[in-house]
């Protein structure tokens, strides 16, 4: 018995194709705009936001990787590039000599504070200003459901 593929039906196909298109376009637009306005990439932005979320402005590397859901090598490479640009710095960890902290620099803080308003404005303009409250909630619900399934799938 060869298992028969359950292809997407028309409704699903429509949703999937437009989701993919939206996702790609939205990502590209927001990224380009952020980059042009502030010189930050989307990835830089995420790292900086995660850092400003801490009252210390510093975190252990793995903890940051966890928070961002990034692989540690991705983060390590990315931090090296950001460090070269002066946005973050690495600090030794006294507790565990293997470990390291990443800390926000003054320049990093300035960069995120300068970039955030225009970025939020872009998100609003491209997404939220076009959606009604029901759609916003529906989106949250869908995303949470899918995230749950992803986690369940291990």
């Amino acid at each position: 018995m060869v298992p028969v593929t359950r292809w997407l039906d028309e409704r699903e196909q429509r949703a999937w194709r437009s989701y993919l298109a939206m996702q790609a376009q939205l990502q590209a637009r927001l990224h380009r705009r952020l980059q042009a306005d502030s010189g930050l990439s989307y990835a830089d932005f995420d790292v900086l936001v995660a850092l400003t979320d801490r009252e210390d402005d510093r975190v252990r590397v793995l903890e940051l990787a966890e928070a961002l859901q990034w692989e540690k090598s991705r983060l390590s490479h990315h931090l090296s590039r950001m460090q070269k640009r002066g946005l973050v710095e690495r600090q030794e960890c006294a507790d565990d000599a293997r470990g390291a902290f990443v800390a926000l620099t003054r320049e990093g803080r300035r960069a995120i504070e300068d970039a955030a308003p225009a970025h939020v404005e872009a998100v609003r303009e491209l997404m939220f200003d076009g959606l009604d409250a029901g759609q916003v909630d529906a989106l949250a619900g869908i995303a949470e459901t899918v995230l749950g399934r992803i986690r369940a799938a291990g």
Copy 2:
């Protein structure tokens, strides 16, 4: 008068954060799975699907770029890599000596036909099997709205 940033309210923030997380996780999962099962990247898959959509199994490069909404240089680089792996080939264009066709090879066809069922299954498992019909339609509606705004934003 300094314009005041209209930050996201709580409902919007919740939707935005979960959307971003879903998007990143879903992309990563599907990509990894596709790669592991078939050796194709997501991008390869998109190119191959676009090619099989033509009855000729070949397209002009820019037309393909348009269909995929990719930048032409991205496509050009990607085609070079795919060509090196034997998935597509380039053909001269008699009408316009500047132009070129990209054509599906026998190997390319085999690759996409082998990869598609498992990919659809993964999409189903991670996304559609968890959503009800209302959510599927809501997703399509949201994506279409946002796409419209993106196009409107030029």
